[in-house]
C-alpha cells in the first residue's frame, strides 16, 4: 500500500470518528439538566426574554434539527456564541488554545526525549539500581495523578523553594510578544525577544513536568523492555559479529525497532496529556483552553463545551494520524504490508 493512499484512508476514517464524536457531544450537552438560555440570562430575567433566546439558539426545535444547525455551523467554522464571554466561541478558542497547545507540546517533548533517554539507560543498566529507580518512578507515575504532582510542585516551588515561577505564562513585568502563532516561546523567538522566551520557558517547566512525569516513565519502561527484548535478537548479534561500533548498534540497529511500540502508545499519551491539562491548568493558573472548558461546563455554556470537545477530538485524531505515520515510517512491515517475518 502506498503511503499517500494510507493517509487518505486514515483521514476519511477520521471524519467518521469526528462525526460520531460530534453526535455524542451534542447529545450529552443537551441532556444535562438545566436550561441554557435561563442560565445565560440569569434567574431574574423575564420569561419572554428567555424564550426569545431559546428560539435564537434553536433550543425550541427538535434534537435532530438542533444538531443539524449546530453541525452546519461547525462545518463552516461557526461554533456559535459563548454565553459567558459573549463572543464567538471560535475567537475564544483562538485565544485560549495556543496556551494549551504550548503546554501540551512541551510536555510531549519531555515525554519523548526523556522516555527514550531513561528507557535506553534502563536497558543499558538492566537489573542495576538505575533500572530499579526507573521502574519505581513508573509505578509512582501511575499511582500519582498529574494534578497531585501539580499541587506538590506548587507547594514546593511556590512557597518552600521559590526558584522557578509557578503561576501563569509570563512574569508580571514582561510584555507578551505580538501574536503570530500564539505560542509565546515561538513568537518571542520569531521576534527576537530572548528574555521573553526564557521567561516563558521557565513558566512552562513545572506544569509541563507535572503533566509529563506519569507517561514519561511508563514510556521509558516500554522503550526499556523493547530494547532488552531486541538485544537478544539474532540481527543484533549479527551486527556485533560484523564488528560494527557500539553507537551504530545501539543508536541505530537497536533503537529504531525498539521505538516502534513506544511511539504507538504515545498517541494515547497525548490524549491523557490533554485531559490532565484540565486540572493542571487550573492549578497553575494557566490561561488555556482546558480552564476555559472547565468554566464552560460549570456554567453549562453549551456552545463552548461542544467546541472544546470537538477541538480536543480533532487534535486527538490528528495526533493519532501523525503517530500512525511515524510508526509506518519506522516500521516498513506496516508500511509495505510485506511477507510475514
Amino acid at each position: 500500500m502506498k503511503l499517500s493512499s494510507y493517509v487518505i484512508k486514515r483521514l476519511l476514517y477520521s471524519i467518521f470518528v469526528l462525526l460520531g464524536l460530534s453526535i455524542v457531544i451534542f447529545i450529552i450537552a443537551r441532556v444535562v439538566p438545566g436550561d441554557p438560555a435561563r442560565l445565560a440570562l440569569g434567574p431574574r430575567a423575564p420569561q419572554f426574554a428567555v424564550d426569545a433566546l431559546r428560539e435564537e439558539m434553536h433550543l425550541d426545535k427538535s434534537l435532530p434539527v438542533q444538531y443539524f444547525y449546530w453541525i452546519k455551523g461547525v462545518a463552516t467554522g461557526d461554533l456559535g456564541k459563548s454565553l459567558i464571554t459573549k463572543r464567538n466561541v471560535v475567537e475564544d478558542i483562538a485565544e485560549f488554545l495556543p496556551a494549551t497547545l504550548e503546554l501540551v507540546l512541551v510536555s510531549a517533548l519531555f515525554v519523548i526525549v526523556f522516555s527514550i533517554f531513561f528507557g535506553a539507560l534502563a536497558a543499558r543498566y538492566k537489573d542495576t539500581w538505575v533500572d530499579s529507580f526507573i521502574r519505581v518512578m513508573a509505578y509512582t507515575g501511575v499511582a500519582v495523578p498529574s494534578f497531585v504532582l501539580a499541587v506538590i510542585f506548587l507547594l514546593l516551588f511556590g512557597y518552600i523553594w521559590p526558584i522557578i515561577p509557578v503561576l501563569g505564562r509570563l512574569s508580571a513585568g514582561i510584555q507578551p510578544p505580538p501574536t503570530i502563532t500564539g505560542l509565546i516561546t515561538i513568537d518571542s523567538l520569531l521576534t527576537g525577544q530572548l528574555d521573553v522566551f526564557f521567561d516563558a520557558l521557565k513558566h512552562l517547566i513545572l506544569p509541563a513536568l507535572a503533566l509529563a512525569v506519569g507517561p514519561l516513565f511508563q514510556e521509558a519502561r516500554i522503550v526499556r523492555s523493547a530494547m532488552t527484548e531486541n538485544m537478544g535478537k539474532d540481527y543484533l548479534a549479527a551486527a556485533v559479529g560484523f564488528g560494527m561500533p557500539d553507537h551504530v548498534i545501539t543508536g541505530k540497529y537497536l533503537l529504531k525497532p525498539s521505538l516502534i511500540p513506544a511511539v504507538s502508545v504515545m498517541g494515547l499519551d497525548i490524549a491523557s496529556l490533554m485531559s490532565n491539562a484540565f486540572l493542571v491548568e487550573v492549578i497553575f493558573n494557566w490561561p488555556g483552553i482546558s480552564r476555559y472548558g472547565m468554566e464552560a461546563m460549570l456554567r453549562k455554556d453549551l456552545n463552548a463545551i461542544s467546541a472544546v470537545i470537538i477541538v480536543f477530538g480533532l487534535i486527538f485524531v490528528l495526533v493519532n494520524i501523525l503517530v500512525d505515520l511515524i510508526v509506518a515510517y519506522l516500521d516498513p512491515r506496516i508500511r509495505l504490508g510485506g511477507r510475514s517475518s
Binding site: 538485544m231 537478544g232 535478537k233 539474532d234 540481527y235 543484533l236 548479534a237 549479527a238 551486527a239 556485533v240 559479529g241 560484523f242 564488528g243 560494527m244 561500533p245 551504530v248 541505530k252 540497529y253 529504531k256 525497532p257 516502534i260 519506522l330 516500521d331 516498513p332 512491515r333 509495505l336 510485506g338 511477507r339 510475514s340 517475518s341
Partner: protein, 330 residues
C-alpha cells in the same frame, strides 16, 4: 587438503559454555576441541541442540547475555579470543571471521533496508574502512551478483520482509563474504529452505569459499551435506566433539557409536533432529549424565563409560575419537 594442526588459524580448546536459566545452569558445552586450518573446509555435525551454534557464537563472542564461559580457550592465530581487548576482538570480527546465521529471517534487521545493513557491514569492515559511498555500493552490488540474485539495485532498496526465504539466505551469505574474511562460519545455511534451493545454496557457498580462498566451518545436522562440502568433519554430541577425521576417512572408517548411528540416517538430506539409528534423546543439560554423555544411548556402554569421561584420542592419521570402547581401553 591436509593441514597440520600447528598451522591452524582457529583452535578451540576445552571450551565450556553454560547458560544461566531460572532452572539453574544448563551445562551445554563440556570441553569442545576443534581446529581449522588455513583454506580448510570443516564440517560440524550433530543433532539439534548439541551446541553447534553455541560453539560458534562463542568464537565471535556474541553469546546471549545469560551465557557464561567457565573454562576454555579459543586461539585465533595464536591469541585467545576470549581474553582479547575490544580493539583486537574488533579486528577478528572485521577482518578475520564472519558468520552466516542459522535463521536468515532473524539475522536481518526488519526495519532497515538490505542496502543500509549491507553498507554498514562494508563500512565497518577492515577492508571497507574509508571507502567512498560509491565504492561501498559497488562492493555490495558485486556481492549480490555473486550470490546470483538479479536486480541488485532493487534488492538494496528492499526490506527483509519483501524478500523470499531463499533470497534472504543469499543476502546473508552475500553480507558474510562482501568484504574479505579469512574464515567463514556457515550455521546450517538453508535449513528453512526446500531441498532444491538448499542444494543450490550449498553449492553456491562452496564455490564462493573456494574462489576466495577462505576457510569454512560448515554447521549441519546431516553427515550427507558435510560429505559434499568439507575436507574434514567434527561430530558433536551433547556439547562434546566425539569424533573427527578427514571426510573420506570418516565415511570409510567411522568409529564412534554415535557417528555410526548418524551414518545410518545419511540418505536424509534435511536433518530433522534425532537420527533413526540412535535410540533416545539428547540429555538434559541441567543434570547431564556422568562419564560419557552418550552412554545412556550407547549400545556398547559399560561401567567405565558411566564413571569417566572419555577424551579425544588419536587413532592414527589425525583420526580422533572419544570412546573407551574404540580406544581399546576397555
Amino acid at each position: 587438503m591436509i593441514v597440520n594442526k600447528n598451522d591452524s588459524i582457529l583452535n578451540i580448546k576445552d571450551l565450556h559454555v553454560h547458560y544461566r536459566t531460572y532452572d539453574g545452569f544448563a551445562k551445554v558445552l563440556d570441553g569442545v576441541n576443534l581446529w581449522v586450518g588455513k583454506g580448510e573446509k570443516v564440517g560440524l555435525v550433530g543433532e539439534a541442540g548439541c551446541g553447534k551454534t553455541t560453539t560458534m557464537r562463542t568464537v565471535l563472542r556474541i553469546l546471549p547475555e545469560n551465557a557464561v564461559v567457565p573454562k576454555g580457550e579459543i586461539f585465533y592465530h595464536g591469541e585467545d579470543i576470549l581474553k582479547m581487548k575490544p580493539q583486537k576482538l574488533n579486528k577478528v570480527r572485521t577482518q578475520g571471521i564472519s558468520m552466516i546465521f542459522q535463521e536468515p529471517a532473524a539475522a536481518l534487521n526488519p526495519v532497515f533496508t538490505i542496502g543500509t545493513q549491507m553498507f554498514d557491514v562494508i563500512r565497518y569492515s577492515d577492508s571497507g574502512k574509508g571507502r567512498s559511498k560509491e565504492e561501498i555500493k559497488e562492493l555490495a552490488v558485486k556481492a549480490i551478483g555473486e550470490v546470483y540474485i538479479p536486480d541488485p539495485e532493487r534488492i538494496l532498496n528492499s526490506y527483509p520482509g519483501q524478500l523470499s526465504g531463499g533470497m534472504k539466505q543469499r543476502i546473508c551469505i552475500a553480507m558474510a563474504i562482501v568484504t574479505e574474511r579469512e574464515l567463514l562460519i556457515a550455521d546450517e545455511p538453508g535449513t528453512s529452505l526446500d531441498v532444491t534451493i538448499l542444494d543450490q545454496v550449498h553449492r553456491l557457498l562452496r564455490g564462493l569459499v573456494e574462489k576466495k580462498g577462505m576457510s569454512l566451518i560448515m554447521i549441519t545436522h546431516s553427515l550427507g551435506v558435510a560429505r559434499e562440502m568439507t575436507d574434514r568433519i567434527y561430530v558433536m554430541y551433547a556439547g562434546n566433539i566425539v569424533e573427527t577425521a578427514e571426510t573420506k576417512e570418516l565415511f570409510k572408517n567411522p568409529l564412534h557409536p554415535y557417528t555410526l548411528g548418524l551414518l545410518e540416517s545419511v540418505p536424509r538430506l534435511t536433518g530433522g533432529g534425532v537420527a533413526e539409528g540412535i535410540y533416545g534423546r539428547i540429555p538434559d543439560y541441567f543434570s547431564p549424565p556422568k562419564g560419557c554423555r552418550f552412554h545412556p544411548r550407547c549400545r556398547l556402554s559399560e561401567e567405565k563409560c558411566r564413571e569417566e569421561k572419555p577424551l579425544l584420542k588419536d587413532v592414527g592419521d589425525g583420526h580422533q575419537v572419544a570412546c573407551f570402547k574404540v580406544q581399546g581401553v576397555i
